[in-house]
């Protein structure tokens, strides 16, 4: 398994919680940026010739904010420069406030077969609170265009003023719109974002409330036929995100575009987060990499366990043995002993017990190096 990630760093408006690399006043350079992206695809394609990729993911920013012709061109370039498997999963993140029938049609023509729709909440006032540019009606319109398609909806927990009733309504709308996949995650107030001030002022629901929303949402999603396959990800049977599963299985991925990160040949790379710097590098024929780190054997083992324990599937001792030639319970014997009561075993698989999945940092930090 291997994946390709493309970062589209443009937005109409920055959400109040967002700390991703995105720009809302740089539409002037969209064309130049997309041209650079094509160049980077070509550069990496040559370097990684011989590998087969199974998934492509357009993330952002807001990939749906740029002219769909750029997405089409990027996909064409990918198909030209990379070897894709027979039925690749190709996902694009869309903001419900930016779609049109024509855009969706172009995406489909480009080969996109999965959509990740940022709903966040079904309460308009809370969408405003988050700085989202769309309403619940926009979401319903957007998903009506996606009827029959494989799409995912994002649900956010921990919004200012949110109640359990609101969570219920949001999940019902997401499920009712036909989403095959729902990502339900807790708002992370990052330092430097406007919402961080709300957090410091104690205006956001506290950890206990968010945990209660999560438990409630998890039960409701189960009732509606969505099973949890990772801490924040739920789906109808067979609709797991292959692209994301690849991350959690320590599969290789190549990240393209400003701020994108990659993992291949045992190294983790990070592209510059400076838009102009990115373009200058590409135009000069250099990789815009600002950080490149070889993952040590020790680190790799820890990553394997850390990522594996995030998933409902868990850590497979056989798979670990195959990759590292040792027994993971031996390699992490002290941590394993200390955390054993929070784990459950099934055959050679070890996973975090359901009730502890939402407090896993405490458990995982024991395994840290």
């Amino acid at each position: 398994m291997a994946g390709i990630y493309l970062h589209i760093p443009f937005c109409k408006q920055k959400c109040r919680y967002c700390d991703f690399v995105s720009f809302c006043n740089r539409s002037d350079v969209a064309e130049a940026y997309m041209a650079c992206l094509l160049k980077e695809i070509e550069m990496r394609g040559k370097e990684l010739a011989g590998r087969t990729f199974d998934t492509v993911y357009f993330g952002g920013g807001t990939p749906s904010v740029v002219d769909p012709k750029y997405i089409y061109a990027a996909m064409r370039q990918i198909k030209k420069c990379f070897a894709l498997s027979v039925r690749p999963e190709v996902t694009i993140e869309v903001n419900p406030g930016t779609v049109s029938e024509q855009k969706i049609a172009t995406y489909k023509r480009a080969g996109i077969n999965r959509f990740s729709v940022g709903l966040q909440t079904a309460i308009d006032a809370q969408l405003g609170e988050l700085g989202r540019i769309h309403t619940v009606r926009d979401y319903l319109y957007c998903t009506s265009l996606l009827r029959g398609e494989n799409f995912s909806a994002d649900v956010m927990l921990g919004i200012k003023g949110q109640t359990q009733e609101d969570v219920k309504k949001t999940i019902e709308i997401a499920a009712g719109s036909g989403a095959k996949h729902i990502s339900m995650y807790a708002l992370q107030p990052e330092d430097g974002t406007p919402i961080y001030t709300d957090y410091l002022n104690g205006e956001l629901p506290d950890g206990d409330e968010v945990a209660a929303f999560y438990d409630f949402g998890r039960a409701l999603l189960k009732e509606k036929g969505y099973r949890r396959y990772e801490v924040s990800n739920f789906c109808k049977k067979g609709f797991e995100s292959r692209h994301n599963l690849n991350y959690w299985r320590r599969g290789e991925y190549v990240g393209l575009g400003v701020s994108a990160s990659s993992f291949f040949s045992g190294r983790r790379l990070l592209n510059t987060t400076d838009l102009d710097e990115y373009m200058k590098c590409i135009l000069s024929g250099f990789y815009p990499v600002i950080d490149s780190e070889e993952v040590s054997a020790q680190d790799a083992r820890f990553e394997f366990v850390m990522l594996g324990l995030r998933t409902a599937y868990g850590v497979s001792a056989a798979e670990y043995q195959k990759q590292f030639g040792s027994d993971w319970k031996q390699d992490f014997s002290a941590a394993y002993k200390r955390t054993r009561s929070y784990l459950e075993e099934e055959g050679d698989i070890t996973r975090i017990k359901d009730e502890y999945l939402f407090v896993q940092n405490q458990i995982l930090s024991e395994y840290a190096l």
Binding site: Y247, E303, N361, L364, S365, A368
Partner: protein, 604 residues
């Protein structure tokens, strides 16, 4: 017979905290040209960072100066700056033994304070000639005549010719120097006698070994002499002698009457004891100098390295501090929760605080300290009796017949408007009222008997906050008294945490237990399971709080770009755990052990 020089004056300064002692010392040095004004760093003698920051003197510091007096002669002055705080009385008594006279500095706006009086008595015991000095005459509220009258009344010194100065402005400083020449006698002693030098301080220099600060009482010492001390068998070759200028300045010889230092490549810290006498190895004096009376520590606490592997470093640090702080006592200790460390004894709370701070600053060690305790006299039912200062060494209640605790005689000085509040505080701290005296219409003195155990807890802070800092306080030990004392244990998830145990009066146990449990509840981070915090006396639970289990701590998303970040976050979290102590199954941050020291403002 060669007498010590008649142009030599050894003196020190006695003053209450903030009456301007160090500033006067600075002015004197300036006037004698010891330090040029340009090079002058404020409060030159307070060389430790802590001293400058807190504006107090902790260590005695000697300095030599030359003064051309009005009588036409040049005099050599050795000034020994001394601490003013009650906890450092021992340091004061050491410097007094090296002097023939003392300046008694009194703030013209404050009058004579308790601590000044205490040190004056010490000086009189040492047969020192006293020279009163009235400072801060530049302030509008200065009451020079009243202060003079007070000095005559309270101390019993003739103040009619006392120099009236402003150290801040540098006014009339020469009067002080003339008074020293006139009133302080030159030292006695014979330069031909066998060497007898009193060690009044010492410190460890990485290159020269232990440096001895000495007052030569008899004889003389120079480089190359073979010396020994009375308490140690070992002999040393003197490698350097010198005076304090105030930096150490080598000179050829130190003669009887002089104050200076001796370096002799002394590598073993344990070989030197302050108060001991240095003499010649081959021609020893017949008997040592009287030395100092051993001080008994009154406040105790456990000191542990934050990082358990740094025990060796902590030991080294404490040994080196001891060299320079004779009043500090210590012995190895072992706690289930905190590992290996030391049980240390101090002269008081400030002394304890200063030592803790010096370990952290001068030796760059992070430490955990346990709640301060005092030394209790335990009488067992089998007739044995012994002292216990560590709560975890207390025998089980069934084996204890009764216990006694140290009591202090406390003098509290305050403006009258705070009397009610102070009395209430003393009442609350099990104090027994003894006496009340109006010193003048602005100042009242209250005498109380108080258990020391209450004072080490939060008495100082309370007194300060209740009197807006106006009250001053001094105490001295006044023996032991039978008392109903119990050991208060703290249980975390059902297990006793030895480092959090304290000995308290029975009547206060419930209140203290509840307060502690509440404080700990806020200080212990939530973990994966619920943690009951219980306070117990003799196995009976008297208070209970609960730290709820954590319910959410996960990073919501973990996609391609998040993996490195998450890895780092977990590593950081693990690093943080290393700073935690394991009490049974519970992880306890090191700060928690200090939590027990905190006072609870709203405990009523």
């Amino acid at each position: 017979m060669a007498k010590a020089s008649r142009f030599l004056r050894n003196f020190c300064i006695i003053a209450h905290i903030d009456h301007g002692k160090s500033t006067i010392a600075d002015r004197i040095m300036e006037l004698t040209g010891q330090v040029s004004k340009r090079d002058m760093e404020e409060q030159l003698l307070d060389s430790m960072d802590i001293e400058r920051e807190r504006g107090i003197t902790i260590k005695l510091t000697p300095v030599r100066m030359f003064y051309n007096a009005l009588d036409g002669n040049e005099y050599e002055f050795n000034l020994i700056d001394t601490p003013g705080h009650v906890d450092f009385t021992y340091e004061v008594s050491r410097s007094l033994a090296a002097c023939e006279g003392a300046l008694v500095v009194v703030d013209a706006t404050q009058g004579v304070e308790a601590q000044t009086l205490a040190n004056v008595y010490l000086a009189l015991e040492n047969n020192l000639e006293l020279v009163p000095v009235i400072n801060k005459i530049d302030l509008a509220s200065a009451r020079i005549d009243e202060t003079k009258a007070e000095i005559e009344e309270v101390i019993g010194l003739d103040a009619s010719e006392a120099p009236c100065v402003s150290a801040k402005e540098g006014t009339n400083i020469r009067d002080i120097l003339e008074a020293v020449v006139r009133c302080v006698p030159p030292p006695e002693g014979d330069t031909d006698d066998p060497l007898r030098a009193l060690i009044f301080d010492s410190y460890y220099d990485n290159y020269k070994g232990v440096i001895l600060f000495v007052r030569i009482k008899d004889g003389q010492v120079r480089v190359g002499d073979k010396i020994r001390t009375f308490l140690s068998e070992r002999t040393y070759d003197v490698t350097e002698v010198g005076a304090f200028a105030p930096q150490m300045q080598p000179k050829g010889v130190l003669l009887a009457g002089e104050v200076g230092y001796i370096a002799a490549s002394i590598k073993s810290i344990e070989d030197v004891e302050v108060g001991d006498t240095v003499t010649f190895a081959d021609r020893p004096a017949a008997a040592p100098l009287p030395g100092y009376k051993k001080v008994q520590p009154v406040v105790f606490c456990g000191i542990y390295p934050l990082d358990g592997s740094k025990f060796g470093d902590l030991k080294e640090a404490i040994l080196k501090l001891k060299l320079n702080d004779a009043a500090l006592t210590f012995e190895p200790d072992n706690s289930v929760a905190l590992g290996f460390g030391f049980r240390c004894g101090f002269l008081g709370l400030l002394h304890m605080e200063i030592v803790q701070e010096r370990i952290e600053r001068e030796f760059n060690l992070d430490i955990i300290t346990t709640a301060p305790s005092v030394s209790y006299l335990v009488h067992k039912t089998n007739g044995d009796s012994f002292y216990v200062d560590n709560p975890s060494h207390l025998p089980p209640p069934a084996e204890i017949d009764y216990m006694e605790e140290p009591i202090v005689k406390a003098e509290i000085y305050s403006p009258p408007e705070y009397l009610g509040s102070i009395m209430e505080l003393c009442q609350d701290k099990r104090g027994v009222y003894k006496n009340m005296t109006y010193l003048d219409e602005r100042r009242v003195r209250l005498d109380y008997l108080l258990p020391l155990n209450e004072i080490v807890y939060d008495f100082f802070d309370e007194l300060k906050s209740r009197t807006k800092g106006y009250a001053s306080f001094d105490y001295e030990l006044a023996g032991y008294q039978r008392s109903k004392l119990v050991k208060l244990d703290i249980l975390l998830n059902g297990e006793v945490c030895d480092a959090l145990s304290t000995i308290v009066h029975e009547d206060h146990a419930y209140r203290r237990g509840r307060m502690l449990a509440e404080n700990l509840k806020d200080a212990i981070p939530r973990q994966l399971f619920e943690i009951p915090i219980q306070a117990a006396v003799g196995g009976k639970i008297i208070a209970r709080e609960t730290v709820k289990a954590v319910r959410k701590d996960v990073l919501a998303k973990c996609y391609g770009g998040d993996i490195t970040r998450k890895k780092k976050l977990l590593e950081k979290q693990k690093e943080g755990k290393k700073r935690m102590r394991q009490v049974g199954t519970v992880e306890v941050p090191s700060e928690v052990f200090m939590e027990i020291l905190k006072t609870n403002k709203d405990r009523k």
